[in-house]
Amino acid sequence: MSTVPLHRLAHARAGDKGNRLNLALVAHREQDWPLLAREVTEARVLALFAHRGATAVRRHDLPGLRAFNFVIEDVLQGGVNGALNLDGHGKTLSYLLLGMPVETGAG
């Protein structure tokens, strides 16, 4: 097995609504979508954002777009109007997700 950062296999963009964040995760190559589906689970994403108070993660699967949409609740610590964080929108958090290590099953 070999482990790579998700950044090698996929790209992402974050969007906010209140205290809720969505992260669109898109596979660079169509054939990697099943691997991402296996590795990037709701539970792992929730664990990744636990230190920011995330309470729930819902993953929407979009195989036709080679993509997933993760909706993460209560992760923005008040959101753009309430957070003490420099990035109250959570716009940088797409790259927190892309830092997640994933097992490629190869090599």
Partner: protein, 470 residues
């Protein structure tokens, strides 16, 4: 060619601004491309954020002729004559809290430019402050339990749909100015006016809404907010991010959608840039709620037809929601911030010492509020608020260039100002070698979302010209 004169003809919709802080020179190349293409076209300018609208409402209360997007005339003046001459209507939500005042300002610009016959459509009715609609609001799911105190409300605006924009265009408006409406409606309105789609033609409305959603953030679909060197490259040359082309959608009468950008501009339109924007700020991709339609993009496919030309198929629509979303803005206290840099040997230890010193100062002064410390360069934006020692949580390596930031939220302006000043005081009272202090105190606004029944609203369309203004 005027909208609607040949409803079978392809409609081009350009977007010259994707948010209230966007590049002021972006609309020009889009207008030029629409004019060169020659067919029916419209140009949208999206400039209205939730916070922007609340600030505009405050401004209007102090100055009745203010309260619209401050950059509106600067955005319009280079393109207005060209667009009017070519029959390309401009649709913008730059009316913010005062669309009528914005229209009078644009008429003033028109007079200067010799466009004495300009017709402006004003869309009102989104502002529900002081109306009985405020009595009939239910909290939106994300704000369950929110309680509204009507006398504290700064702004209360409902997201209107595309119908009033289409109505203004049908009445001959050459510029349409709205307050709050859904961003995709700025594109869907011209489509309704041109194609005459039935208001219950859900799949076409969904296709048009998808096009509007792809356009609404401007360059975010054409290679902006996208570049990641070595992974997703945007050329670092004359066709790079300094000259990003803003998007143009080509819409067919059957709801076909193609996204492109003006020739000779920077950036790129490809599967990846389009996919990122398609999912931007979406929650359930099977049910994206807008005032005009519930959009389902789970079956959408993306095809790269040619360089910078991407086609999307398969948006589906369902009946529009019975209730509309309203954003209510309330005072949100104050935020004091201060930053100071430490670099070189032992930088992190000096920065941490400075941070501990600040927390102790806030405690000794008895300032009432909530604080957080960032070690920018070690951990800042990824970190949570709640680590016991006051620093943002997440452990990291030890770099040599660190910026400490204090953020302090309080209901007291004086407390926020004092907290920020404490960072400045570190020049003399903090560890050795600190420099580059920045401080800032921001008046904050809290927003809540509610749902309001359609029957409570009365969107209005008024056409204004210089004769009315005289």
């Amino acid at each position: 060619m005027p909208l609607g004169s040949d409803p079978t003809a392809l409609l081009r919709i350009g977007c010259g601004s994707g948010f209230s802080g966007d590049r002021l020179d972006a609309p020009g190349p889009v207008a030029d491309a629409l004019i060169a293409a020659g067919g029916p076209a419209a140009l949208m300018l999206e400039v209205l954020g939730e916070r922007t609208l609340a600030l505009a409402q405050r401004e209007r209360r102090q100055k009745p002729e203010a309260g619209y997007e401050p950059a509106l005339l600067e955005l319009l003046s280079p393109i207005l004559q060209r667009c009017v001459a070519a029959g390309i209507p401009i649709v913008t939500n730059g009316g913010a809290a005062n669309p009528r005042a914005a229209a009078h300002a644009v008429l003033g610009l028109a007079r200067q430019l010799g466009l004495t016959g300009l017709r402006i459509g004003v869309v009102e009715g989104d502002d529900i402050r002081g109306t009985d609609a405020l009595d009939d609001l239910d909290p939106w799911e994300g704000d369950a339990g929110a309680v509204l105190e009507p006398d504290r409300v700064i702004a209360a605006n409902v997201y209107l749909g595309a119908a009033p924009i289409a109505e203004a265009l049908r009445q001959g408006a050459e510029v349409v100015i709205t307050g709050r409406c859904s961003d995709p409606a700025l594109a869907l309105g011209p489509m309704l006016a041109h194609f005459g789609w039935d208001e219950a033609d859900w799949d076409r409305l969904a296709a048009g809404t998808m096009a509007g959603h792809l356009l609404e953030c401007g360059s975010q679909v054409t290679g902006g907010y996208f570049a990641d060197p070595g992974i997703k490259d945007i050329p670092d040359d004359a066709l790079g991010m300094a000259t990003l082309g803003f998007p143009i959608a080509e819409i067919g009468a059957d709801g076909a959608v193609l996204i492109t950008k003006p020739a000779g501009t920077g950036g790129r339109v490809d599967r990846r840039s389009v996919t990122e924007q398609l999912l931007y700020e979406l929650h359930d991709p099977g049910a994206y709620l807008t005032p005009d339609v519930v959009m389902d993009i789970t079956g959408v496919t993306i095809t790269e037809e040619a360089p910078d030309r991407v086609r999307l198929h398969g948006a589906r629509g369902r009946a529009r929601p019975e209730r509309l979303k309203a954003t209510v803005s309330l005072p949100g206290g104050w935020l004091g911030e201060g930053e100071i840099s430490y670099a070189g040997p032992n930088a992190r230890a000096r920065a941490e010492l400075a941070g501990r010193t600040l927390l102790e100062r806030l405690r000794l002064l008895g300032l009432d509020g909530k604080s957080r410390l960032d070690l920018i360069g070690v951990v800042s934006v990824f970190g949570g608020d709640d680590k016991d020692d006051g620093f943002a949580s997440v452990d990291a390596e030890v770099p040599q260039d660190i910026r400490l930031r204090l953020a302090f939220a309080s209901d007291s302006r004086a407390a926020a100002e004092r907290a920020a000043r404490e960072v400045l005081s570190l020049y003399c009272c903090g560890p050795a070698g600190g420099g580059g202090v920045r401080t800032r105190v921001t008046d904050r606004i809290r927003t809540l979302s509610f749902l309001v029944p359609r029957g409570r609203l009365a969107p209005r369309v008024t056409l204004l010209s210089l004769e009315d203004a005289a």
